[in-house]
């Protein structure tokens, strides 16, 4: 396939900072998956990471205030990598907070919650955070493993 530079494919989705708005993400991702022939395991990883990222922004970044905006954008530059950027206007993300979860020693030691950042790190190819003048940008990348090369387990 002919490759072009920067942002050959791009889609955007705007949400309000409500957990109920996260229901809009799955149909958006499903449409992208159809358009770009994204495999179902990759779709699962994308939906998982976006849910974790967005719920963190709503619950922690915006502290449950529902009137703020969150913008998602999708980029595929023909390099078989899928990039999702999430921009918000929340206070800068505390990188020292999440992602430092220790392994539990027993069931009672397993902390319910707090799995979001570790799951994003596990199921994406990369997680990058950058501060914006009035918010944050989180970029998640995934390899596009086409549907025909995946097998169901």
């Amino acid at each position: 396939m002919h490759q072009t530079h920067a942002h050959k494919d791009q889609e955007r989705l705007k949400l309000n900072s409500r957990l109920a708005d996260l229901a809009l993400v799955k149909p958006w991702v499903d449409a992208l998956a159809t358009e770009h022939a994204i495999g179902e395991d990759t779709v699962y990883k994308i939906e998982l990471c976006l849910e974790e990222a967005l719920s963190n922004i709503v619950r922690h970044g915006y502290k449950g205030e529902p009137q703020h905006s969150i913008e998602l954008s999708f980029h595929s530059n023909g390099d078989r990598m899928l990039r999702f950027a999430i921009e918000d206007n929340a206070p800068h993300f505390d990188q020292a907070g999440p992602g430092r979860k220790r392994a539990p020693k027993n069931a009672e030691d397993l902390i319910p919650g707090g799995h979001g950042m570790p799951l994003m790190q596990k199921f994406s190819s990369s997680v990058a955070w950058e501060p914006l003048p009035n918010g944050n940008r989180l970029t998640l990348t995934f390899p596009n493993e086409p549907r025909e090369t995946e097998t169901r387990g």
């Binding site: 849910e51 392994a103 397993l110 919650g113 387990g153």
Partner: protein, 111 residues
């Protein structure tokens, strides 16, 4: 997200979950799961029809499982699909709540 229960021999409560255990799905079952965990000592969580599991869904499993274990009970996860199992393992839950893919093995884990 659907939840149904079935009482098996030996005092085992089988909880069948069906659908997406995302934020919305977790909210739909949390109360029911906590009620079940408060009255059952042997819990078989059938996840074979769960198509998606996120961290809020994990919480819906871990909190009731901890409640059961605190009362001296046991919990086993039965037949999660591949990606759901990957999420369970990535969260180290598999080391604490056993995962079994054969019903006989799951029942044995509760014996």
């Amino acid at each position: 997200m659907k939840l149904s229960t079935e009482e098996l021999d030996g005092g085992i409560t089988k909880v069948v979950l069906d659908g997406r255990l995302d934020i919305e799905g977790a909210a739909a079952i949390d109360l029911k799961m906590n009620v079940i965990a408060g009255s059952s000592k042997l819990l078989l969580l059938d996840l074979q029809e769960v198509t998606f599991l996120g961290s809020m869904g994990l919480r819906s499993i871990v909190v009731p499982a901890q409640a059961v274990r605190r009362r001296g009970g046991k919990v086993v996860i039965f037949a999660p699909v591949k990606m759901v199992e990957e999420v369970l393992k990535a969260s180290s839950i598999d080391a604490l709540i056993p995962i079994r893919h054969e019903l006989a093995d799951a029942l044995a884990a509760l014996a």
